[in-house]
């Protein structure tokens, strides 16, 4: 007997992760914590991709391949993001996002 999983449960888990990430991005003022919340949102998307890949069952496993691409892009984003954060810290002595307002109108 092959076990089954409710698709909607997996999608609900991913929705909870995504909403938590949205809250984190909006409520945190420390730049590194905001980046962590963005990672949470990207992971929610990946869970969705894998779940639908197993649900649709296409021969090319497109969903999983794109989940891999999302992981690669997330790694690039974190690398660049942390370089920028460290640069801001070096210049301003703070990484609180509401104090970095040089370009704010």
């Amino acid at each position: 007997m092959i076990g089954t999983i409710h698709l909607s449960w997996v999608l609900a888990f991913s929705a909870v992760l995504f909403a938590t990430g949205v809250y984190g991005v909006l409520a945190r003022r420390n730049a590194v914590l905001v980046l962590m919340s963005i990672e949470l949102m990207l992971n929610a998307v990946n869970v969705n991709l894998v779940a639908f890949s197993q649900w649709v069952k296409d021969a090319l496993v497109t969903g999983q391949v794109f989940a891999l691409f999302v992981i690669v892009v997330a790694a690039a984003e974190v690398g660049i993001g942390l370089a920028i954060v460290i640069l801001i810290y070096r210049n301003r002595e703070t990484i609180n996002l509401d104090e970095v307002n040089l370009l704010k109108w």
Partner: protein, 163 residues
């Protein structure tokens, strides 16, 4: 309820709790450790969904590399501790927006997919590799260039200027 369902529920509950802790804790290192737990549980969800290559990639890249990067940058920026130092004044609005997103997504999911079930089929690494290098060669090359550009950009940004 199948064994896969039960395993998924355990993983999802632990992952959700760790995610909540990540966005509410007052200590940045605890936030990073909560992120480790959440990412590990997501890897477990991939295993339950029979995507084992992706699960190990998740462990190696996220838990192995990205968390170390985040911890290093927390160390280098002397992140403070305390609610006022880590959160801004928009917590109420942020919680409202988060709840609205969650409500909308849950309504959509339960409306469209309630009752549908996945029968996970084991995806071999061979399958995934042949798919990447036959059907998705072009996106693969583009993503390699992107990674190279990001690497060079990060080095150029974070390097100390020569006096």
């Amino acid at each position: 309820m199948s064994a896969q369902d039960a395993a998924f529920l355990v993983l999802a509950v632990i992952g959700t709790l760790a995610a909540f802790r990540l966005v509410t804790t007052r200590n940045v290192v605890h936030a990073a450790l909560s992120l480790v737990v959440t990412l590990g549980m997501v890897a477990g969800v991939y295993l339950v969904l029979a995507a084992e290559f992706l699960a190990w990639v998740q462990i190696i890249i996220y838990v192995g590399a990205i968390i170390v990067l985040l911890l290093f940058s927390l160390m280098l920026t002397k992140a403070p501790i305390g609610r006022d130092a880590l959160d801004n004044q928009q917590r109420g609005i942020a919680a409202l927006v988060g709840a609205a997103v969650l409500g909308g997504l849950l309504f959509l999911v339960s409306d469209a997919f309630s009752g549908d079930k996945i029968q996970p089929v084991h995806t071999t690494t061979e399958q995934l590799g042949s798919s990447i290098f036959k059907a998705f060669v072009m996106p693969f090359e583009v993503v390699s260039i992107l990674l190279l550009a990001a690497l060079i950009g990060a080095v150029a940004l974070a390097r100390k200027e020569e006096p």
